[in-house]
């Protein structure tokens, strides 16, 4: 079937289109490059007066893996309350809508939606691909199964390394880089991931030895290596084995006042290798001022400008109840005293990493929370290049992904932002530079930050743009003075060429889950040495770690889509 999307104002940074009036043609799930004869067109959508972009991509959202399950186990009363509050009165719920062999139903929504609800909410906002940033190797099967049960969107994951005894042992022993490279390549391939993430390098492991802090240049209490060395060797490995996505770095000292110094040290530790600093808002804190907590956003923005090897996503804080979930048990444990409600789960996992779940409510009248909110917006507005700063709330850590439309309005609407600033804790507003930042994001900036740039950074060659041959993930918006409303309810969302959302509501299903992955080459001569180290470390066997394409497709129920390495 040939579909014509006629006359929309198209924003596609890849082709340098910024509101150009264009006709797009979709056939067999892809965009066609040539202009067909009118008689060939089967379905025509008149999009005049509408804004057209590629499907959006979220490169950091915690929607799969055991930590969301743990959070749901911890907070049944909040989830049930959220469901009751958000279910529209009188709406018939039914027993679910058949969706490509699965079911979608309304369920606990808000800050921790179930997998079916998360997929639905994402596609209804025009997102078509989302990436789980914290896949533990021993949990990879479960993570991919949960992602496969998140319908309507493509998914992928980053495998967590850098606190595992295998890697720390290799670094302690001073092995050659080629063995590190083989290890990283094996772990990415075995876990069917597309990237590598390091979380508080060495710190999660050190917490198991009862160490409560570890800065970038502190030696690990047992292995002796520093977080800086872990980051440098991993970032180099990621580059040398050709992963498109740079090392995804959750830095040291998450949430600690004064951690801006750790963030700057992390950038230096990378030694010029490409790194992506994630949820950097949580790592941009000074300790100036009467309360010992201040913004380091300007320093981060300056460092990003000076270091072309660095990209960031923000991890914007949005006010309200949420739950923080992170592999960073060292700092999650520190946060248990501030848990709201007062309960938490801290888990050491399989000599690989950990998981900390701490519920939290961000309050706009609390100084620290209000300044966190302002720091996030400062980062967005101070980093000039929208292809190097990405829109995330680190769902659900800073707030749920469903707040993205509100966040986009904060970026695009200066007066709306000023009104919001006036409502936060006055000392926090005064401590922030936000009132002096006049910049407003344009639609082209949004298309860059949420489409073209994440696709490039992840190596998704045929996503995130509308060129000939691209996957036909297309989102259509009706312009509105209320930008939040515009981005909350696209008029049309096409996923792989099929219309699945109309006027913000799901109207159809898609057939199969897709997992984006890569296949770096593994030096076969080094596998036996790796096997020895696996056996000595006492975690899962190499054999059980490996998820084959066949297992992914037939048992986990997702089709691998393999992207080339660099």
């Amino acid at each position: 079937m040939l579909i014509e999307l006629a006359g929309g104002a198209v924003y596609d940074p890849r082709q340098n289109w910024a509101g150009d009036i264009r006709n797009l043609y979709i056939e067999d799930g892809r965009l066609r490059g040539d202009v067909p004869q009118p008689s060939e067109v089967d379905v025509r959508y008149d999009l005049s007066g509408h804004v057209v972009m590629a499907g959006a991509i979220d490169l950091h959202t915690h929607i799969g893996g055991g930590k969301t399950t743990i959070a749901r186990m911890l907070l049944p009363e909040l989830l049930a309350a959220g469901y009751r509050a958000e279910r529209p009165r009188g709406e018939a719920v039914g027993h679910g809508v058949q969706q490509g062999g699965g079911l979608l139903w309304n369920g606990p929504d808000g800050f921790l939606p179930s997998a079916p609800v998360a997929g639905r909410r994402y596609i209804e906002m025009g997102y078509t691909a989302c990436f789980e940033p914290a896949v533990l190797p021993s949990n990879a099967r479960g993570a991919h199964a949960e992602l496969a049960d998140t319908p309507l969107i493509d998914t992928g994951g980053y495998v967590i390394l850098g606190n595992d005894d295998v890697l720390l042992g290799m670094l302690r022993d001073g092995v050659e880089q080629s063995l590190i490279n083989a290890y990283v390549a094996f772990m990415v391939t075995a876990t069917q991931c597309i990237g590598v993430k390091v979380v508080n390098a060495g710190g999660i492991n050190a917490f198991k030895y009862n160490q409560r802090m570890l800065d970038v240049d502190d030696p690990h209490p047992t292995y002796g290596v520093t977080p800086g060395e872990v980051i440098r060797r991993l970032a180099r490995a990621v580059e040398e084995i050709g992963l498109p996505h740079p090392l995804h770095v959750h830095g040291s000292n998450l949430g600690v006042a004064g951690n801006i110094e750790s963030t700057l040290k992390t950038i230096r530790a990378a030694d010029g290798h490409r790194i992506h600093l994630t949820h950097v808002q949580f790592h941009s804190y000074g300790k100036e001022g009467p309360l010992g907590f201040s913004s380091g956003a300007e320093q981060v923005a300056k460092a990003v400008a000076e270091n072309p090897n660095v990209t960031i996503d923000v991890g914007q804080v949005m006010f309200g109840q949420t739950v923080t979930i992170s592999a960073d048990t060292m700092h999650q444990f520190q946060g248990t005293g501030r848990a709201t409600p007062r309960k938490s789960v801290i888990l050491d996992i399989e000599c690989e990493a950990g998981c900390g779940v701490v519920p939290f409510r961000y309050r706009h009248r609390r100084y620290v929370n209000a300044l966190q909110w302002a720091i996030g917006l400062e980062l967005f507005l101070m980093v000039d290049d929208p292809s190097r700063v990405f829109l995330t709330t680190d769902h659900p850590n800073g707030g749920p992904f469903t707040t993205y439309p509100h966040l986009i309005r904060l970026l695009m609407d200066r007066s709306f932002r000023a009104t919001a600033l006036a409502e936060i804790h006055s000392d926090a507003a005064a401590a922030s530079q936000l009132s002096g930042l006049d910049r407003q994001y344009t639609l082209r900036d949004i298309a860059t930050m949420t489409r073209a740039a994440p696709a490039d950074l992840l190596g998704l060659g045929d996503l995130g743009h509308l060129s000939a041959g691209a996957v036909a993930d297309v989102t259509v918006y009706r312009p509105d003075d209320d930008i939040e409303a515009m981005f909350a309810r696209p008029t049309h969302v096409f996923r792989r060429g099929k219309l699945v959302v109309r006027d913000g509501r799901l109207v159809d299903s898609v057939d199969a889950a897709i997992t984006h992955t890569v296949r770096p080459a593994i030096d076969p001569g080094l596998q036996s040495r790796l096997a020895e180290r696996f056996a000595a470390a006492g975690g899962m066997s190499m054999r059980s770690l490996r998820i084959s394409d066949d297992e992914l497709a037939s048992s986990i129920l997702s089709r691998p889509e393999i992207h080339p390495c660099r």
């Binding site: 055991g66 399950t69 006492g538």
Partner: protein, 389 residues
């Protein structure tokens, strides 16, 4: 051939099995659960083969479709050990407006409630094995997980993974009998009746908090641990003991490390049900959308998943009982309807969560006996239900 053993929460993935005709026998492993599990499967296969040929998933589903569709209330429960079957169970419950409810042990239920109230500091088995200088066992979990001592407890942790200076791991058990296989010189047993466990734990917690000793000596023993790990049997924890244990572990982690390690049999269904419905615990789809069910009650019709003959049978309840999977002769006789299906990890491949909940392992297809899987039958039932709706 190498297999992942489906017969206990340890899910040993180093099992070597040998085919003898259409039966499998564990090779060079001294595990009564594995031997009994495979023997039970072989015996039931032989019994069923002598009765009738295998039937397809479609035929099996058709035989109960009207009964399921006509039931005023449906409960899907049992021991569901693989992701494929768990997905199918939740989806059928959603399609029928039924309840899906993992068969959880006394300890699992108590610990789930305690975590919902207070949270927990926990770990997986490899962490316990590699780090812990001290291990506390409540009841005898090795009775249900026979290779626990051999695989995870007996080898003392070695540097650099080991936490603390103690070269050899020591053990403390609290329960009604000593645990076999633990080294005598490093093993202390305190006789405790099940109902008294929470009192001893509470006393230890109080003593630790104020830096004093307790009458049992538990607090003193714990104060000398650098990284302690706690395990329990499926019957050891009542709600009071579970709550006290969670509080005690929190207390211990103020100055040292202490972790609880669950060995539950319901982790796979619990995980899948939680990500699909949003809730952990029994989930009711009766109103269309999933809702957490505070207390699961008998339904008019129970669809019980029995993955292998040695899995725990359903409780005696006033319900129309359909058993799907592989039952022993006694359960087959007791069921109102018995639908034989293949064993996950024997007849078909899938994935499974180990009892400590985070580690997800492959289950391999080892034999092709032509049996349908339980998931296929549940899927066929869902299709028929959808058609009828």
């Amino acid at each position: 051939m190498l297999a992942t053993c489906p017969f206990c929460p340890l899910r040993c993935d180093d099992l070597v099995v040998r085919a003898e005709g259409t039966h499998l026998v564990p090779h060079e492993v001294d595990c009564p659960r594995a031997h009994a599990g495979f023997a039970g499967v072989a015996a039931e296969s032989a019994r069923l083969s002598s009765l009738a040929a295998w039937r397809t998933a479609s035929v099996l589903a058709e035989s109960i479709a009207d009964r399921v569709a006509g039931a005023a209330s449906l409960r899907i429960s049992g021991t569901i050990i693989d992701i494929t079957t768990a997905r199918a169970a939740v989806r059928l419950a959603a399609a029928c407006g039924g309840v899906v409810d993992a068969a959880e042990s006394v300890s699992s239920a108590a610990m789930r409630r305690a975590i919902e109230r207070e949270g927990v500091v926990a770990a997986t088995l490899a962490e316990l094995s590699q780090r812990a200088d001290s291990v506390v066992l409540l009841g005898d979990p090795s009775d249900e997980c026979p290779r626990l001592v051999e695989r995870f407890l007996a080898p003392s942790p070695a540097p650099p993974a080991r936490v603390g200076e103690r070269a050899r791991r020591r053990f403390l058990s609290l329960g009604e009998s000593r645990i076999a296989g633990l080294p005598g010189e490093r093993y202390t047993h305190i006789e405790v009746a099940r109902g008294d466990l929470h009192r001893l734990l509470a006393e230890a917690r109080g003593a630790l908090r104020v830096g004093k000793t307790d009458s049992s000596g538990i607090a003193t023993w714990l104060a000398d641990a650098t990284y302690s790990g706690w395990l329990w049997s499926s019957e050891a924890l009542d709600p009071l003991a579970a709550g006290t244990l969670v509080g005690l572990s929190t207390e211990l982690n103020r100055e040292r490390r202490a972790v609880l390690v669950s060995l539950a049999s319901d982790t796979t269904l619990r995980s899948v049900s939680t990500w699909l419905s949003g809730f952990s615990g029994p989930v009711d789809f009766g109103s269309g959308a999933p809702q957490l069910l505070e207390n699961s009650t008998p339904a008019e019709l129970t669809l019980w998943l029995q993955p292998y003959p040695t899995a725990p049978p359903p409780p005696l309840e006033d319900t129309f009982l359909i058993v799907l999977g592989m039952a022993d002769a006694e359960l087959a006789e007791r069921a109102d309807v018995y639908l034989p299906a293949g064993v996950p990890g024997v007849d078909f491949a899938s994935s499974t969560y180990r009892g400590d909940a985070a580690v997800c392992l492959p289950l391999h297809a080892l034999l092709d006996r032509g049996l349908p899987s339980a998931a296929e039958v549940l899927g066929e039932l869902q299709l028929r239900r959808t058609d009828r709706c």
